[in-house]
Amino acid sequence: MILLVRHELTKFYRRFTPYVIYAVILCFKQGGGHHFARAAGRGAPDYEVVGSPLNGVFLCNMVLVSIALLLPYMALVAAGEVLGVEGSVGTLRTLLVRPRSRSAIWFAKFITVLIYTLSLCALMYVTSLGLGTLVFGRGPLWQPTALEQGSMVMLTFGEATRYLALSYAVLGAAVFTTATLAFCLGSFFDSGLAPGFTALAIVITLQIVTNLQFDWVATIKPYCFTSYLSDFTKMMPTEFDPVTNALKFPREALLHTLRACGIYIAVFAAIGLGRFVRRDVTC
């Protein structure tokens, strides 16, 4: 299995697409981050903040918000290629006459998708936090509270880095869910692009539908996997524990998101794997 995963990582990272996507999100981050940083530097909030809010964790948070819009789409394209390309080039027939179970080969590819998705999030976290701290220095992160209009929660730099890491990880889980969809569609199309773009179409359609102002939309929205793409915003603590006076860990929200993503991942994977082990390799 380790051998298979190593092969899949080699095949994946020797290709073009992953680097294009790394580059795209890094450029996007530059643009997005700067924009937010400027806006914040200029802005005059109706509460008084002592010193500049601009620092490493602030930038890291801004990048998180802006990159969350792009990351799922980018990851889809790369994930769709992992299986699809082997079908379109025909390497699948060479690979699948080797004495390895189809499910092992499938899992090796799936793990590659997981590693890539997490690496995208980790890359964004590390570069935005690192560069931000290097340029703007350390400092606390101010977050609006859930309780009172205009009141803020202050996270120390250390706390902020930990909660931001959690937020990036939760975004990663949601992005991995959509990437799983694209990857699993690769069992149905012998094409490099078709799985990614089909998944893209599904995700965008769902995002549009779930933003319509109908009652029935409100009912289905919590069950729709595209909704979890914004759940990372719920990972920042917004209250204090009244007893210990520590930041309140968003345990409920975290469990809910992870459980929901887990269920979707399991369903997509079951369908994709089921099809892959049974399918006729005619490419």
């Binding site: 051998l3 298979l4 080039v89 390497t91 027939r93 060479t94 006459v97 004495p99 390895r100």
Partner: protein, 312 residues
Amino acid sequence: MSEAEAARPVVLEARALTKDYGRRRAVDTLDLRVHAGHVYGFLGPNGAGKSTTIRMLLGLIRPTEGEAYVLGESIRRRRVQALRHVGAQVETPAFYGYLSGLRNLRMLASLSGRVTPDDLDEVLERVKLRGREHDKVRTYSQGMRMRLGLAQALLPRPQLLVLDEPTNGLDPQGMKEVRDLVRSLAHDEGITVFLSSHLLGEVQQVCDRVAVIDRGRLVAEGDVATLLADAAAGQARVGCDRVDEAAAVAGGVEGVTAVRTLEDGLEVDLDPNRAADLNAALVAAGIRVHELTPVRRSLEEFFLAITGGTRP
């Protein structure tokens, strides 16, 4: 097949294999038995169902009906075990074009077992890819890809080699090299080879036994020597004057098995090595020969012959 040969184990077997694509039947209740040590030809025109059969034998596609056995294991129930000692190349070779030939080889071969750098060197040498193994496959010609396809099938040392039209896309020299390689693998190393082809001559040259498939059905099976003897017999067209006299002379030449008269010459079935004798005999009898050309039978005609003209 001799008794000794028939006693050898069956390494590849199809039992009533059938494949339907929608309403089209690509392979129709096909039965095959390949004994160890043979070079087994699977002959048929384009679209006959050769690749579809090979895909079923290797577990790439599920038969609509029937079963396949490889090295004694059912491919449906124990695919991984069945393929442990098999090397295969199905249709045109496909590789990761952005990786080097060597890396492609190493990755594929390592899925079947341990390969040493020496093994890799030896195989590259055999398929004449030495010196190009570090180039990306994207830069390979069609012929080089075919060689790389052979190389991956040969790693690590299979007991059974399944090759789907292995000379497709090669130039005549390349074709000859592949045929020589197949013969040497079988005769020097005892590897059983199952090879499909749409070229009658190729099967004659390298195979011991042959199954002939047409439109998904098995139309003939047997020793190449007996089954194709008829097709192997040469035919020649002789352009000459005094046709009747010439026919009498030709009929007396050793190696000539049949003579038909045409308006301006003869059509003769003969041992191809005797063409010069025939010419000499005719000239000695004072007949003016202005043409002596070998006639090659097409695969189409061959099918007509062995199926008794039942092909519509």
